[in-house]
Symmetry: C2
Subunit: 231 residues, 2 copies
């Protein structure tokens, strides 16, 4: 019984790590679809999001059964409760990749991203992929140091996001408002993707140390707040 | 012991309902701050968000202790696990009200909303307030019928959101891109606010019936997906 129990806990962690791989792949393909105006790739991201959702449901059912049948305490309880939250964050990351793919799809055969912003989006895509892969290894190894790195990568994403806003809201913006709207939403999708990654990393810190890396979660949205300033 | 236990469960539900009142008040005041360019009101919303965050933390600690000490099963377990998720949704609604207030603050002494869009934002504010108040009563009464109403109110919000996008992305948009960016983000904040309300209502349905009102959660973002089309 106890052995099966710890195997279940391991299975939950493995599923979470797999979810991070799926989210990384989704965001990476969504970025390519966006930059290359590749509608088939965009469709594949949109379709594959159901897999991420299904994983999340699986993890939630497993966690719920563990709570009901095994009544874990102390660290194990923290792990189970936190896993349900991490699955929710990672599922949301999948949604955000899907949103990016949908914008790519919407503007096909054109690209939603003007030439001079391609570099910024390529970089946002790279940071997004890097950050979620790191989160996977943070979960797998319960790596508190790695969790701090994730916060630093999020700072890089915030900088890119601010740059983007500065360009869109500049008086020299040379494109129409439809493009500005697309860029605004796309920027927010990437930024929120990274925010959720930080949130997952912090939950791992909480499992290991019983303390939040930051104040009590949910506060990773400050750049979005100030970004409309174009600062 | 058992009596104390059910009192704790009741306390969690009451705290969730109080959170919905705080979120309703935050969004209502944020909307007024936005339309009247009232920077003091905006600041009060931004400051008060810490109260909502604190409530969430309190509910989470209470829920966690209940899980650890009382090891609830069946419906009680569903209630506790789901409460932690509802607190997270409502806290996020508070964040979104804060985002609206921050845009108001950013554009002060001007209003971020051009005259011809004031009516739409006033309506979005009303729907947001209505929907979160309904969610409070859905939680308090475990009201499955009320939960369906919440979904209908969300449809109204989606329509307003689509109208807004049609205007921003129209070739006749008479304002600068900074305004377009503000309106895009503001529209998304209101729409996400309503999405989280639906999510809370569905969780209540799950507590009562063991079934999701919709497919397994997290799917309430489709309008955001299509909105950039200006459809």
């Amino acid at each position: 019984m106890r052995k099966a129990y710890h195997e279940e806990l391991d299975r939950i962690a493995e599923s979470l790590v797999e979810m991070t791989h799926l989210a990384a792949s989704a965001m990476s393909r969504a970025t390519t679809a966006l930059l290359d105006a590749d509608v088939h790739l965009a469709d594949s991201v949109i379709t594959a999001d159901a897999d991420i959702d299904a994983r999340r449901e699986q993890i939630d059912l497993l966690s719920f059964d563990l709570l009901a049948l095994q009544q874990p305490v102390a660290t194990d309880l923290r792990v189970v409760v936190t896993s349900m939250r991490m699955s929710s964050d990672i599922e949301r990351m999948g949604d955000l990749a899907r949103h990016v793919a949908k914008v790519a799809r919407l503007r096909y055969p054109a690209s939603a991203v003007p030439p001079e912003l391609r570099g910024t989006f390529r970089e946002m895509g790279s940071v997004a992929e890097l950050i979620v892969e790191k989160v996977g290894s943070v979960i797998a190894r319960r790596d508190v140091e790695g969790a701090l790195e994730v916060a630093r990568d999020d700072d890089a994403m915030d900088r890119l996001h601010r740059d983007l806003f500065a360009q869109v809201t500049s008086s020299e913006w040379p494109h129409d408002t439809e493009t500005a709207v697309d860029i605004t939403l796309l920027g927010r999708y990437y930024e929120r993707f990274a925010d959720h990654a930080v949130s997952v990393a912090e939950r791992v810190v909480w499992i290991v140390t019983g303390e939040w890396g930051d104040e009590a979660g949910g506060g990773h949205d400050e750049v979005a707040d100030t970004a409309p300033a174009g600062a």
